[in-house]
């Protein structure tokens, strides 16, 4: 069989064109087979080498092998290009409208008063106060008498009371927790007592139930100045920088006693509906624990003294969310609660 010198350049040209022209991975595979497969052109050439004169075999063999490597490179290059195109096409096809709604259900809502209560607790826990809880149905003794509010004193009228069968009361304030926590304990101690309290007052602007946090500390040299520092820091924690006002007042269980107001954050003191045009918002009461109360808890008032304070939780919640009145918190209207 007569053999001619193979035209390697032509073959290379053709291979290059065919590889570049392969439009898909499938095409590329068949192009590769045409050249490098067992029956491909390059394989034919290699097989034909044996027929060549001896002096040419080595040279042609090298050239054919170089061509084979060259074609493999072109194929690999083309495969990479085709794969990348394929991936991009795939990504393009799976483009989402990310503005459609999220899967899964929306979160629920923590009650605003729970939120405020939690913020308060966080402050006092960090200040070394322990949380103490007491029953909501209380004895007349713990709710009134032990707190220096005897039945025959007009101070009883300061709080409209729900009476419960058995001569019990729905606690009108969290102060009875003072009695429970102090009795049997030896100072020093610091407690807060958050919880719900009840007053016999049901009107559009008032709620018979509201949240309160009581706080008290007893030691040998706790002062009114310490109480002021604590409440300034507390107010700052709850409302940011805020101006406070301490007004002398009367509570049977503290002496001296003070009412605590803060500067209305909505009008900054100019007067608005939130603060009833006074520029101040009543926040709570405070003072130094009355010696009679300490004595009622078997704590020696000659040796120990302490402060106590109590404030409503709703004020904070109402201010935070600019709620116009307290009943919105307790009506259970989801159109309101799910905003907050």
């Amino acid at each position: 069989m007569a053999s001619r010198a193979p035209d390697l350049d032509t073959l290379a040209q053709g291979a290059r064109t065919d590889v570049a022209g392969a439009g898909s991975l499938q095409d590329l595979t068949s192009v590769r087979a045409r050249y490098l497969g067992r029956k491909g052109s390059v394989s034919d050439l290699l097989r034909g080498i044996g027929d060549l004169p001896a002096e040419e075999r080595s040279r042609v063999g090298q050239q054919v092998n170089a061509l084979k490597v060259q074609i493999e490179d072109w194929v690999a290059e083309r495969r990479a290009a085709l794969e990348s195109r394929e991936r991009n096409r795939h990504l393009e096809e799976h483009r989402l409208d990310v503005t459609l709604p999220a899967a899964g259900q929306p979160l629920g809502h923590l009650h605003p008063v729970s939120h405020v209560q939690r913020d308060m607790a966080q402050f006092f826990l960090a200040r070394g106060f322990s949380i103490e809880e007491g029953p909501e149905v209380e004895t007349e003794h713990n709710n009134f008498d032990a707190l220096n509010v005897p039945a025959d004193h007009p101070a009883r009228d300061m709080q409209d009371t729900f009476w419960v069968e058995g001569d019990f009361v729905l606690r009108t304030h969290t102060s009875p927790v003072q009695i429970r926590a102090m009795t049997g304990r030896t100072p020093p101690f610091r407690f807060i007592a958050p919880g719900r309290v009840y007053r016999h007052d049901f009107s559009p602007r008032n709620s018979p139930m509201f949240g309160q946090v009581e706080g008290f500390a007893v030691d040998e040299s706790v002062t009114l100045a310490n109480l002021k520092e604590l409440l300034y820091a507390f107010a700052k924690h709850m409302f940011g920088a805020v101006e406070l006002r301490f007004r002398a007042s009367y509570f049977p269980f503290t002496e001296p006693s003070a009412e605590l107001d803060f500067r209305c954050p909505l009008c900054r003191g100019d007067g608005c509906n939130t603060c009833s045009q006074t520029g101040w918002i009543e926040w709570g009461g405070c003072g130094m624990i009355h010696p009679t109360v300490l004595r009622n808890c078997d704590i020696d008032p000659e040796r120990y003294q302490g402060y106590a304070f109590g404030m409503g939780l709703e004020r904070g919640a109402m201010l935070r969310h600019e709620l116009p009145h307290i009943r919105l918190l307790y009506d259970g209207d989801l159109r309101v609660l799910e905003q907050l």
């Binding site: 106060f129 209380e138 729900f162 001296p256 259970g332």
Partner: protein, 815 residues
């Protein structure tokens, strides 16, 4: 208390600014709730000078004036008043100003002369009816001065909230003393002594106290020959400004003096008193009398009575009797001024449901040294205003000594030690002096008076009207409030850090809240009350412990008459209300206490509970809708309940048990932790839903955090993780339709032994291909050991054993 400022000004010099006065009183503990101004608004008017006065060219009865109102040019004004004259000071309204009647003054042409303002009459100023002539001012004020500065019109009234300890402030005198404490001016007490006639009081009357515990002192003055008519205008105006209705001169004087001095008084018609005696005694059981409000009242031995020779004439300190009331026909009077024990008056007033201006003051305690002075002052005013002659002397009797102290010991160190201040002894004593507390003199005190030096305790004399000052701390409060609470420093408390923890009930409640709101449930807070009919709506058995509710003695409404023994009715009520608000999907929870009577006469048990009510949305949302049919609502509730218990640190199982009467019997289960049932999950029974008027399927979760807290919490312990591969086998078994998958899972777990790492149900199917009455349950079994790799043969053997067991025990047939 309503305090007319002009009245207060008679008693003490006031600061120029009412606002400054109010601020000081408020800061010192007498909260000024409101400053009310009555009378016409004169703020737009000014003082004018009539500089020229001449006839009107076209009208005989009119004149034309030029009025200087302090502006650059005088105004030309037409005036019809006959009394206008040059040189007068008058009340002037410029064109455009608002007159006291609310109208705006317009420029007008009167018979071709333009009038640029108005010279006002009394009527135009709203001060009276005089309109024939203009009001000529008696003032030196220059033209242009605001009219309100020179003409006192109306009254400024302070509305003051008096704290329960400061009965002494329920009077003009008391408020004046507080003004003195803040501003230092002297209090001017008017003359009280009456001019006395010849006739001695003893000729008409003697006074006896037979219940000395209830009555500290009783004074009576007699005035004879009065003419009872209306009181003078000035007195009526003051009473009205202070919120009292004028009646007649006698009653008005007793009220007036009570408002002045804080001592309640009562006037009797002397001629209608029998037997010439006033006896103060306690009532007999069942004794009756008709009080001056026309009500016949049954009395109690705890009530203190004023009686005459015939019977009760007044309930002491509370209300008078109708028979001895002063009328227009009265000529001879008895004026009572007494001091009753505060607690007794309070109990009677409470029992009778009557609060009067008198009982209000007696409850808080009156000046123990002011009784006679008030009787004197009233007698003097009556003699002055109603004629008559005051009998000589006071009929008086004394009972027990009133509560209160004469002296209190106080050391400066105690003041500073409690307040955290550094006040000197002199400063402290100066503040005390402002409230009338002076160092006790040596003669009054064995241990030496105040005014000592250094840190020795001093003794301080307490004024008779301050019955609230009993102990050293009371004096410290006086120092603090006059010094000013705002001037007390704020210093950090120094001491050992003790505590800083929260009880389990607190942390559990917090964790429950966090879990539930993250589960898409919204927290609500409900009142603790229960409508007793709700227990019927829940269909609770008579023996159900939740029937043992505690009643509210004075409920706001019948629907709030019990304390909650379950949270469900509140939540179901809110579900209904929110559905009525067109809210489609309602998912709410509450963490709150329920009350349970455990033992009669003891405080109820308070269990901390969580309850949630869930509905499903009618409108499927975009994603969940199309993929697969949502599982029954029960399973959503089950998932939430299990995750809730898990968040609280327990493993719970849901086991069907005895359904609650309000639960769907086929879709409910108890939440079991260990061996205890701590809650319930279930769909609401359609009958219960109907009784609560709920129009949508809903599921309910109930969990007692208190019950859970009784179960010891197991710490989660490490189990070794296997390095060996796991092998998974799926089994589908046909069993009876009623067969519970949970029982099969338990049986498989037991049978699988050490080889079986886990088993779970992944499908439940009935329908085509499954025989009637059967169900196909599919289980995924995962085999894996910690110590070695299982062989295929071992796993196959285990599976075979499981299959055999399912066939034998449950009639299970492999599909």
């Amino acid at each position: 208390m309503l305090v007319p400022l002009s009245w207060l000004a008679d008693w003490i010099e006031l600061p120029d600014s009412v606002e400054a006065l109010a601020e000081s009183l408020t800061g010192g503990g007498l909260e000024v709730d409101a400053i009310e101004r009555t009378g016409p608004d004169l703020s737009a008017l000014v003082v004018g000078d009539v500089v020229e006065h001449g006839p009107h060219p076209n009208a005989d009865r009119l004149s034309v004036c030029r009025v200087d109102a302090g502006d650059d040019e005088p105004f030309e004004v037409v005036c019809g008043a006959p009394n206008v004259a040059a040189g007068q000071k008058i009340a002037f309204a410029r064109v455009g100003t608002r007159l006291p009647d609310g109208t705006r003054l317009k420029k007008s042409r009167i018979r071709s002369v333009t009038s640029m303002g108005m010279i006002c009459s009394e009527r135009e100023l709203g001060l009276g009816d005089e309109h024939e002539g203009i009001l000529v001012l008696d003032t030196d004020a220059p033209a242009g001065t605001p009219l309100a500065d020179v003409l006192s019109a109306g009254e400024t009234i302070l509305e003051i909230a008096i704290t329960a300890n400061r009965g002494d402030c329920a009077s003009i005198l008391g408020i004046a003393r507080e003004v003195r404490a803040h501003f230092g001016a002297a209090v001017r007490v008017p003359t009280c002594d009456p001019p006395e006639g010849e006739r001695a009081v003893a000729e008409d009357l003697r006074v006896e106290i037979t219940d000395p515990e209830g009555c500290h002192r009783y004074d009576a003055r007699v005035v004879r020959g009065v003419r009872v008519g209306p009181s003078p205008n000035w007195m009526q105006q003051r009473l009205e400004a202070a919120g009292m209705r004028p009646i007649n001169v006698v009653v008005d004087v007793t009220n007036y003096v009570m408002l002045e001095l804080g001592q309640p008084l009562h006037a009797f018609d002397l001629d209608r008193l029998r037997g010439g005696v006033i006896r103060v005694r306690s009532a007999e059981a069942g004794e009756r009398m008709t009080t001056l409000d026309g009500v016949e009242r049954t009395l109690d031995p705890s009530d203190l009575l004023i009686t005459d020779g015939g019977g009760p004439v007044a309930v002491a300190g509370v209300i008078g009797g109708g028979d001895s009331e002063v009328s227009d026909a009265t000529t001879n009077l008895l004026i009572e001024s007494a001091h009753f024990r505060p607690g007794r008056v309070r109990l009677t007033a409470k029992r009778l449901g009557v609060q009067t201006d008198a009982s209000y003051r007696f409850e808080r305690g009156v000046d123990r040294a002011g009784v006679t002075r008030a009787a004197d002052r009233a007698a003097r005013l009556i003699a002055e205003l109603a004629g008559g002659e005051v009998s000589r002397g006071v009929a008086t009797a004394t009972g027990s000594t009133p509560d209160g102290v004469d002296e209190i010991a106080l050391a400066p160190a105690r003041v500073n030690g409690l307040l955290g201040t550094a006040l000197s002894r002199d400063e402290i004593e100066a503040y005390l002096a402002r409230v009338g507390v002076e160092p006790a003199t040596e003669s009054e005190s064995e241990s030496g008076g105040g005014g000592r030096h250094g840190d020795e305790p001093g003794r301080y004399a307490i004024p008779s009207h301050r019955n609230d000052l009993r102990i050293a701390e009371d004096l410290i409060e006086e120092v603090a409030r006059i010094h000013g609470l705002d001037r007390i420093p704020a210093t950090v408390q120094v001491g050992p850090l003790v505590g800083g923890g929260a009880p389990r009930s607190w942390t559990d409640a917090e964790r429950a809240r966090d879990t539930l709101w993250a589960e898409g449930v919204t927290e609500v807070m409900c009142f603790p009350f229960l409508d007793p009919r709700d227990l019927d709506r829940l269909d609770l058995a008579e023996s159900d412990p939740r029937r043992a509710t505690l009643g509210v003695v004075n409920p706001i409404a019948e629907s709030h008459s019990q304390l909650r023994s379950t949270l469900l009715p509140s939540l179901l009520g809110l579900l209904r209300e929110n559905r009525n608000r067109q809210i489609d999907r309602v998912r709410i929870f509450e963490v709150s206490r329920v009350f349970r009577v455990e033992k009669e006469g003891e405080l109820p048990e308070e269990d901390l509970c969580v309850a949630a009510v869930l509905t499903r949305s009618d409108q499927n949302r975009l994603w969940e809708a199309k993929t697969e049919a949502a599982p029954p609502l029960f399973f959503e509730a089950k998932g939430i309940a299990l995750r809730l218990v898990s968040a609280l640190g327990y493993r719970a199982e849901l086991r069907p048990g005895a359904p609650q009467p309000y639960q769907h019997p086929g879709a409910s289960a108890g939440i079991r932790v260990g061996r205890r049932v701590v809650g319930e999950v279930g769909e609401l029974h359609p009958d219960a839903a109907a009784r609560f008027a709920i129009d949508v399927p809903c599921a309910v979760i109930e969990l007692s955090l208190s019950a859970l807290a009784d179960v010891p919490r197991q710490e989660k312990r490490f189990r070794e993780v296997s390095r060996h591969p796991q092998m998974q086998r799926d089994l589908a078994v046909l069993v009876d339709r009623d067969q519970r998958a949970g029982e099969l899972v338990d049986a498989i777990r037991r049978k699988g032994g050490d080889h079986l790492a886990s088993v779970e149900v992944f499908d439940r199917y009935e329908g085509q291909g499954v025989p009637e009455g059967k169900v196909s349950l599919a289980f995924r079994l995962v085999f894996q050991r910690v110590d070695r790799t299982l062989t295929d043969g071992e796993v196959t053997k285990s599976v075979d054993q499981v299959v055999k067991m399912l066939a034998n025990q449950f009639g299970g047939e492999l599909r």
